[in-house]
Symmetry: C2
Subunit: 254 residues, 2 copies
Amino acid sequence: MTSSHSFTAASPVYTYQRIVEQIEHAILSGDFPVGSQLPSERDLMGQFGVSRPTVREALRVLQSMGLLEPRPGTRGGPVVLAPSPDTLGRSFRTMLGTASLDLAELLQYRIILDGSASELAAIRHTDAELALMREAVERMRESAEADAPDFADADLAFHERVWEASGNQILALSGHAVWGALRDLLQRDAERSPGDNSVKLESVRIDTGLFEAIERRDAAEAGRIARTALADRFSSMLSESDQRALEQFLGRAQ
Amino acid sequence: MTSSHSFTAASPVYTYQRIVEQIEHAILSGDFPVGSQLPSERDLMGQFGVSRPTVREALRVLQSMGLLEPRPGTRGGPVVLAPSPDTLGRSFRTMLGTASLDLAELLQYRIILDGSASELAAIRHTDAELALMREAVERMRESAEADAPDFADADLAFHERVWEASGNQILALSGHAVWGALRDLLQRDAERSPGDNSVKLESVRIDTGLFEAIERRDAAEAGRIARTALADRFSSMLSESDQRALEQFLGRAQ
DNA sequence: TGCACCAAGTGGCCTTACCATCTATCCTGT
DNA sequence: ACAGGATAGATGGTAAGGCCACTTGGTGCA
């Protein structure tokens, strides 16, 4: 009879990878708090019993994970960095960049994120966050009325404030990444009409409504506005079947 | 008078970093599709005009981002990988480990993703996807009743099928990443009672209800089940204020 | 006391080299 | 003619040694 034992994959273990794991574990377990220094490359090369290129490869990987930063000079050595959400955002971006994404998927994902973020922002925003959002809407209005070229920046700024007011930085980071991917996709596909002022003014009108819903803590309405705004703005670029699926997801059909 | 020109920081540019950027851009812009090969290290060393350790450091970084995989042998060379949730999940875990992310945020994010994925799966699942989900639920039930150790795998398999049935691969990738991070966190924090069969049976009961809601295309109910299941299962690990915010977000309070 | 200088150590990069492994090809045996 | 194994070449993994620019900390001079 065959044994029920299942074998695990026998992938080779590279020495640089084991160094990464050891140092990573040492940092995450608190042996090297933020701001502390690791031994220099030449010391590590002795401690691990490997050559310098090998420890350098390991340090590069840890560096790209945002855990370390090199520091030259006497009494130098790699220093442990404070955790930054940047790497998480970069992971989102590379994942979105390599995935062969179609517009429908990306739009759908952004509708999910923005809708939820708007609901959360309505529920748990603080006065300071509300003030920042109000200021951003005002800047959007000014930019649209002056037909200034920085409207896209002002638009993004407002949505960033909403993401932040959601109190969930994963939402903020992924929202930013998806926003960038969507922008890249559209920029590549079609040359937008940048001078069309009515579109800008319509955006201002919608975002003002979103802001007011958030202000009066009407989560359901805030989420609804955010979702339908995105759907209305982009649905014309989708195929007919994707449009129908989107409508159904938003609960308008049926 | 002083000029109004503002200078930008003059940070040093490392050559290995420029290689990373060039290769990353080439991959993300589609010049090297998934599965294609880059020139070998020795070739790249010639093309970039640098030494082999330097191109190796660059390749290591790209490798740790999940973009590449080395491939030895004649006609070898670094291979471009398909996007994987692994690196995103690792970023989540790193941020959790360094305490710049808390459990509440991650749970909230997973509730948003799983809820939306379940709604979408209810709307647009195909017969084949439904069969796969039914099969996965069945495997969960068998594993729970036999008290087998592979229950966690069966549980994950069911949720993977739901993510896939949502028709949105971004949802599937990020769902997978968050799931992995959450699992690691719990595994580390507390030694769960693996023999507690009632918990498994309860999970089976809930997921069966979710499956049936998806089967009858009841999107609202499917979303509700997915969200409340996650909240009920994990909320006891949250602080009291986070629990209240979660309840409010789910629309039960008020 | 202040400041310029200097020496030591650090990371950044290079050169050369060897090894295990994998792939493609060829060559042999059938 | 074909199947299969041996072989040769290229690849990535790792090592050793060395040079350079720069940062740092102390030292000695004004």
